[in-house]
């Protein structure tokens, strides 16, 4: 339950999957918060003051506590507000969720963006390498609605913000159908299910505006 005079602020950026996933968690828990939009790449003095180490979004301010790094923030939210748990209770399931979340951000993202924008070994090789990584996730979600089971959880939020509502859009800009229904029936179904969840729909960048911005990013990096 929210205590009196509890204050939650979130510094974010509309196309950052890292800050959108924190919004999802706050909404899932029903935590009221004040959202402060950063206009990246310009960084406000507030952002630099609150996150001097990394100078990045998201930053969560809960009363007098300042937190950064999306996985750290998600776990903090889960432990602070105990309704609608985000992480599994079982230690092994929890370890698996953490493992795959790390995999999404540290393996799929680096493989699935720059090597496709600037393919050193050729675009087909880059696509195949990305698909090989995504296949690991396919196995994890097959037979389930969500990675979290019947409702969205930690890994759904991390992978959901990063893959269908970020990387897939980048891939669309590049004319790549990475997660085809034929090759990835489990993930394709998962993406459809995600789109049915109201909290998810509220926390993803609007498609047209996103594609427009994504095209500009890709152009700059090419």
């Amino acid at each position: 339950m929210a205590k009196k005079e509890e204050s939650v602020k979130l510094l974010g950026f509309w196309i950052s999957p890292f800050s959108r996933r924190v919004e999802m968690a706050l909404k899932l828990k029903g935590v009221p918060y004040e959202y402060l939009e950063e206009d990246l790449p310009k960084k406000t003095p507030l952002l630099l003051e609150l996150n001097p180490v990394h100078k990045k979004v998201p930053v969560l301010v809960h009363n007098d506590k300042i937190l950064s790094e999306s996985h750290v923030i998600l776990e903090y939210i889960d432990q602070t507000w105990s309704n609608n748990p985000i992480l599994p209770q079982d230690p092994y399931e929890k370890a698996m969720a953490r493992f795959w979340a790390k995999f999404v951000d540290e393996q799929i993202l680096p493989a699935g963006f720059m090597p496709l924008v600037k393919p050193k070994k050729g675009i087909e090789v880059a696509i195949e390498e990305t698909r090989e990584l995504i296949m690991f996730l396919e196995k994890e979600v097959t037979g389930k609605d969500f990675f979290g089971g019947e409702t969205i959880g930690f890994l759904d939020m991390v992978a959901g913000t990063m893959i269908p509502f970020c990387l897939v859009r980048a891939w669309e800009c590049m004319g790549i159908d990475m997660i085809s229904e034929e090759k990835f029936p489990g993930l394709s179904r998962w993406i459809k299910k995600l789109n049915e969840v109201e909290i998810v729909r509220e926390c993803i960048p609007p498609k047209e505006k996103h594609i427009e911005r994504m095209n500009k990013i890709i152009e700059r990096k090419t």
């Binding site: 180490v53 506590k65 750290v72 923030i73 903090y76 953490r98 393996q107 690991f136």
Partner: protein
């Protein structure tokens, strides 16, 4: 108490393996240590960690857990009634410990390793400067987290102590290689004293590799280019 069947695939020289072993020691968990031979990967390793094919891998009742910091958290949670807590109890303190542990791996370690892989004096100098700057951040983190107590975690070693402390063997080896002090008693006095306490902890001491042996191994791992 029944702990189940516990195996750890690893190597004596690996920082990341040491983290898992310290955690198991803290919880007094007996385990079978399966030493990998440098240069080869066992079938069990490839089967248990098909994604990364790396050590450490903890196998608890035939279920593998990978990634050192994830393993340490698993050990704390699976055996929560054993020994002392590895992670702090308060959500904010846990978050701070996790934040800095991620910083150690993503920022500090990368800088440390780049001293060993630096080509030429200019690159080495730049790498050393980066390590010094990041170590300075960790000094401040120690002061903030320890709150006057001997360890990041307070009265006894915990998650962040383990995350950073496991590097102390390699930290010394890189110092020798660079011929430059990287843990300075005057620049980062709190960390310097913490390091000594950490290395003397009974759950750590038997695991810390001997410097000459590690330096020799480092030369194999990071061969210097021929002049």
């Amino acid at each position: 108490m029944v702990t189940g069947d516990v195996k750890l695939i690893g190597s004596w020289a690996s920082v990341f393996v040491m983290r898992a072993r310290i955690a198991l020691n803290l919880k007094s968990i007996s385990y079978e240590f399966l030493q990998e031979t440098y240069g080869t990967k066992s079938e069990l390793l490839l089967k248990s960690n098909p994604v990364h094919k790396k050590i450490p891998v903890l196998i608890h009742d035939d279920k593998p857990v990978c990634e050192s910091n994830i393993i340490v958290q698993y050990i704390d949670e699976a055996w929560s009634s054993y020994g002392l807590s590895i992670l702090p109890s308060q959500p904010y303190d846990r978050a701070i410990a996790r934040f800095w542990a991620a910083y150690v791996d993503d920022k500090w370690f990368i800088a440390l390793r780049s001293i060993l892989t630096a080509r030429g004096e200019e690159e080495k100098k730049a790498a050393i400067a980066e390590v010094e700057e990041r170590t300075d951040h960790l000094e401040k983190a120690f002061i903030e987290c320890s709150n006057g107590k001997p360890f990041f975690n307070g009265d006894h070693i915990g998650y962040l102590d383990i995350a950073l402390g496991s590097f102390l063997g390699w930290w010394k080896v890189v110092e020798l290689d660079a011929n430059h002090i990287l843990l300075d008693e005057t620049k980062t006095p709190s960390l310097f004293q913490w390091a000594e306490r950490f290395c003397n902890d009974p759950d750590v001491k038997p695991l810390m590799p001997e410097t000459t042996k590690l330096a020799e191994f480092a030369r194999k791992l990071f061969p210097k280019p021929q002049a």
